[in-house]
């Protein structure tokens, strides 16, 4: 093999024949996420690994989606395939097929099919129109018009459906959008052209103009759809990574069931570090981490029979949970439902496209109507008056205007996607461009959960781990997590002194993990090692904040923790304004209060406690590690753990806004020239087709340039 290899496939060197298809059926296909693949060698490597397995009937990698579709042989499951891929050096995760949308992009395909039909019809009709424009005689021209009509009308009936549908929805809701003038222009052009064809009055027909309008707009819409679909499918993949499964304890033993199938009274096993999937009661005393829900970083102790809510993390030791509520009734779900309600508030934000349409459509419709009335009154020629009105609608038709905003949004959303930021909402870029104040959640957003320790030699590390594992104190828990790659030492006679530390015997000598001046200290027989515990800021956090402040943003930190801990971190990161010790509801209230003061807030947060604030803020971003509800509530998800993504997103959003303005000015200049020509009755279909296409292409080129 003579291919360049990317880091993802260095570990996998052997290449064999690719998998053979064994009558694959769409129904029993499963998907595996392969986040690290990015080159041809990865494709052949993954397919070779899977082809060698007897449990896999066929496998095909999709590089754009970074996943592989696997058809399993009857009676096998996916575990072998996952193990084999991980052994070969490819990071692989099973995906929940139910949470993924069907692999084929139905909407994109239908848009492409409509664009293909419009393009085909446009080319044929234009070829025929050239003959008419160059002066075909009476009978020939009549025939050409009939042929054009025969091609154009069915093609329009199929291709322009998206515009008709969207215009119908808007009109039904008594709103105005860009599709209303488009649909009207297409219908009017087709209708008058058909009339000209039947009456054979010798006037122009507009079939080619209507078709090229449809074609260009469909291409623009497809580009926009592609940019957003790739972001959406990646977001769906994040959700699909969390398999909604639980281990139920029954009289016969353990079984794996869907969370949705759990009933009150069931007992489920939860490993240490697992998230409770449903509400329930603990069968023994335990420590739980509620930080995702309440923002408290410290673990909470609960007694036997204490209530555990969905989304809380079990610390220390495995636990058996007795289910009290079905999954759909859990507190977590009810909160998520509240978030959905909050989200609908944001949908009222009308994008620049809709606002422009509201201004533009009445002007164009009014102009066309005025031209019609004027020409009819002055010349008394109803037929010519309709022709001028049609010309006005077609030539001013928002080809450039309707492309100006989607093309820029598509280009910038795609650029952000490649940089690791997924935007979900169509108006997110515009709202991000207006932001002047950034609020960061502390735990999980500015900081990573794991504390970083000084380097320990293996012996010290294994002793520290063994001591830490014996305690449920938050410091011990963080210590144990950061030393997880070591093996614990064998200790005897472990003893915990509450509030002071934990001690034990190591080869007969006393060792202990004791409270020191700043953080715990590890006491070994021959030395004493301080283990200063601090929350580790996320990579790029300090730089991102410095950059935001330099660019004139008002930066503040929100946290449910006490003021001391918060102030320490804020000082290290260079944040001046800290709102400490606030409850989830206060976060949302603070966001609303700042909005009332006229600030446009960008909220960056990851926990369930942030969701109300995320949904209520002018714009919001969540890291990929965030809880599902937080990712749903925010406008964008940052896949890379680096907080500099926030600055890049804001930069690109502002650039997108500048580009949109340029495009709108271009479109306005074009219309200022084209409208007088059309209204005075000088426009011909040839002119319309040429001018309309060139303005569309100009706008798209401006959108995609660097």
């Amino acid at each position: 093999m003579t291919l360049l290899a990317c880091p993802g496939c260095v570990a996998a060197a052997h290449v064999a024949d690719t998998a053979a298809d064994a009558g694959s059926q769409a129904a029993d296909a499963v998907y595996i996420a392969l986040p690290q693949i990015r080159c041809a060698a990865c494709i052949s490597g993954v397919e070779a690994v899977l082809a060698a397995l007897p449990s896999v009937a066929s496998a095909r990698v999709n590089l754009s989606a970074k996943r592989v579709r696997v058809v399993l042989s009857p009676g096998h499951d996916l575990s072998r395939a996952l193990d084999a891929l991980n052994e070969a050096g490819y990071e692989a995760h099973e995906l929940d097929a139910a949470a993924l949308r069907p692999a084929g992009d139905v909407e994109g395909r239908s848009l492409l099919a409509r664009a293909a039909v419009a393009g085909f019809a446009m080319m044929n009709v234009m070829a025929i129109s050239v003959a008419v424009w160059s002066g075909a005689g009476d009978a020939t021209r009549a025939m050409f018009h009939w042929v054009s009509a025969a091609i154009a009308l069915p093609a329009l009936a199929f291709s322009a459906v998206p515009f008709f549908a969207s215009a119908a929805v808007a009109l039904k809701a008594r709103r105005m959008n860009m599709d209303v003038p488009i649909a009207l222009a297409i219908v009017l052009a087709a209708a008058t052209s058909l009339y000209e064809t039947i009456a054979d009055t010798g006037a122009h027909t507009w079939f080619d103009a209507a078709l090229s309008l449809t074609f260009f707009l469909l291409v623009g819409r497809y580009l926009e759809h592609r940019a957003r679909a790739s972001a959406r499918s990646a977001a769906a993949e994040l959700t699909a990574l969390e398999l909604p499964r639980a281990t139920r304890l029954t009289a016969e033993g353990r079984e794996t069931v869907d969370v949705a199938a759990l009933c009150p009274g069931d007992r489920i096993a939860l490993a240490a570090g697992a998230r409770a999937p449903v509400d329930g009661t603990a069968e023994r005393a335990a420590m739980i981490d509620r930080s995702a829900l309440t923002g408290e970083a410290a673990p909470v102790a609960i007694a036997q029979g204490g209530a555990i809510g969905a989304g809380e993390v079990i610390l220390g030791a495995p636990l058996t949970l007795r289910v009290t509520r079905r999954a759909e009734d859990s507190a977590l779900r009810r909160l998520a439902a509240l978030v959905e309600i909050a989200e609908t508030g944001r949908h009222r934000y009308s994008g620049l496209a809709d606002r422009t349409a509201r201004l533009y459509a009445p002007v164009v419709h009014g102009l066309a109507a005025a031209a019609f009335v004027l020409w009819w009154a002055v010349t008394g020629d109803l037929h010519h008056a309709i022709a001028v009105a049609t010309a006005t609608l077609i030539i001013t038709c928002p080809c450039a205007l309707a492309l100006a905003i989607p093309a820029v949004t598509a280009a910038m959303t795609g650029r952000l996607f490649r940089a690791g930021v997924l935007l979900k909402s169509p108006t997110a870029l515009e709202r991000l461009a207006e932001v002047d104040c950034v609020l960061f959640d502390k735990t999980g957003t500015l900081t990573e959960g794991v504390a970083r320790l000084p380097d320990l030699d293996p012996a010290a590390a294994s002793v520290a781990l063994a001591l830490a594992q014996a305690s449920d104190h938050p410091a011990s828990r963080a210590l144990a997590a950061s030393l997880a790659q070591h093996a614990p030492a064998l200790l005897e006679d472990l003893h915990e002194t509450p509030g002071a530390g934990i001690s034990g015997l190591w080869d007969g000598a006393l060792v202990c993990l004791w409270r020191g001046a700043d953080g715990p200290e590890l006491h070994l027989p021959d030395r004493r090692i301080p283990l200063p515990m601090r929350e580790t800021p996320r990579p790029g956090a300090a730089e991102a904040i410095a950059r935001l402040r330099r660019d004139g943003f008002d930066v503040a930190m929100l946290t449910g923790d006490g003021a001391d801990r918060a102030a320490d971190l804020a000082a290290r990161l260079g944040i001046e304004r800290v709102h400490a010790d606030i409850r989830p509801a206060d976060k949302a209230a603070l966001v609303h209060q700042m909005a009332a003061q006229g600030k446009r807030v960008l909220m960056v947060g990851d926990g369930l406690n942030d969701t109300a604030a995320l949904a209520g803020a002018h714009a919001s971003l969540a890291p990929a590690t965030a809880l599902d509800a937080a990712r749903v509530a925010s406008d964008g998800v940052m896949l890379a753990g680096d907080l500099r993504g926030v600055c890049d997103t804001l930069d690109l959003a502002r650039r997108a806004r500048r580009r949109i303005r340029q495009n709108l000015i271009l479109a306005a200049v074009y219309n200022a020239v084209a409208i007088p020509v059309a209204v005075t009755g000088l426009a011909t279909p040839l002119m319309a087709a040429a001018v309309m296409s060139s303005s569309s292409i100009l706008v798209v080129l401006n959108a995609v340039r660097r």
Binding site: L3, N62, A116, M123
Partner: protein
Amino acid sequence: MNILVVLIPVSVCLGAAGLAACLWTLRHGQYDDLDGDAARILLDDADAPPPRPLTKP
């Protein structure tokens, strides 16, 4: 001018054939993984092309 009676149907039919081919590729998922197809061209397994999963329309 009689030649038009032949030429116009022929040109329309050719265009329709192209359109049909385009729709066929669309229905068989040939635009689903453009990045992957760009990379696959580099693989030297010409005698055993990997099967493409047919997605039923």
